[in-house]
């Protein structure tokens, strides 16, 4: 299976990267932008997708400061 894991800063944790991007967009003329957060996308082929949550808990994310979302799990053949 091809899987994607989205890792983002936990709600309530200061996200200076998101803030910097949020401040930069109006400088380029984009208005009406709020609540910007910068996270990380991890793509991986896994034989057993049921292991994904544990992979996230133990390595891909730090649950203390980040939340994760397994956003897609499609067969590897279909993805290529």
């Amino acid at each position: 299976m091809r899987a994607r894991v989205l890792v983002r800063p936990k709600e309530g944790i200061l996200d200076p990267q998101g803030q910097a991007v949020e401040r930069a967009l109006p400088a380029l003329g984009f208005s009406g932008v709020a609540n910007v957060h910068v996270g990380r996308l991890i793509e991986l082929d896994v034989e057993d997708p049921s292991q994904l949550p544990e992979m996230c808990e133990r390595l891909l994310a730090n649950p203390l400061i980040e939340e994760y979302e397994i956003i897609e799990a499609i067969p590897a053949e279909a993805a290529s």
């Binding site: 200061l14 200076p16 990267q17 891909l60």
Partner: protein
């Protein structure tokens, strides 16, 4: 006594830590791939960029073979000191509470800071007085300490000196038992008057005194 300084791929303060420890007693390097602590009395996880800081600072290093031994050593009450990247490794390994986040400035910071000793009743600060100030440098990008739970604070940045946005000005914490200690400032870079301060030696002197007291005479 004997200090052991762990060398990971990407460590860069291992030699400074080794030399700082050697000023107070014997010190050896420990290799990340070896499951052997060589009978040391205290382990130092040094600063740097272990395993390139890939994924998150310290996230990969915690799975190094030597860390299995370090974890067992810590659970048996052994002294484990993590400096900067070493602090990040110990948090990722759950030997210390909390986590280190990017500095609020998003910049690499390097400067001499004043620290306040909050808890002088640890193996790492017993040579200090409560409230004493230490002048020790910081140099990091990911040093903003955060913990959702109350923690045992050992060192704080002095008022107005917080360089990274750390919660409650926290510069160094220990586990509840006090045998594992991590801090973002670099005591190993403050051991010679030539570089501005010798206050960092008090951390290493404290460890030596603690181990000396515990050893049978």
């Amino acid at each position: 006594m004997k200090f052991g300084v762990v060398r990971f791929p990407g460590s860069c303060d291992d030699v400074d830590a080794l030399q700082a420890a050697a000023r107070v007693d014997d010190a050896v390097l420990l290799w990340h791939g070896d499951r052997d602590l060589q009978g040391v009395d205290a382990v130092v996880i040094p600063g740097g960029f272990s395993y390139g800081d890939y994924l998150r600072a310290g996230a990969i290093a915690r799975f190094a073979p030597v860390m299995e031994e370090v974890t067992e050593f810590a659970h048996e009450g052994g002294l484990v000191l993590g400096i900067c990247n070493g602090f990040q490794v110990l948090c990722e390994a759950h030997l210390l509470p909390g986590a280190l986040l990017p500095n609020t400035s998003l910049r690499f910071i390097f400067r001499q800071v004043a620290l306040e000793v909050v808890d002088a009743d640890t193996p790492y600060t017993r040579a200090c007085e409560p409230g004493q100030r230490l002048s020790i440098p910081v140099k990091h990008t990911t040093g903003r300490y955060f913990s959702p739970e109350p923690v045992r604070v050992v060192l704080r940045y002095a008022p107005g000196q917080n360089p990274n946005g750390s919660q409650d000005d926290i510069a160094g914490v220990s586990n509840d038992a006090g045998n594992v200690f991590g801090l973002m400032p670099h005591p190993e870079h403050a051991v010679d008057a030539l570089t501005g301060s010798t206050d960092g030696l008090q951390i290493f002197d404290s460890i030596r005194a603690h181990v000396a007291d515990r050893l049978p005479v």
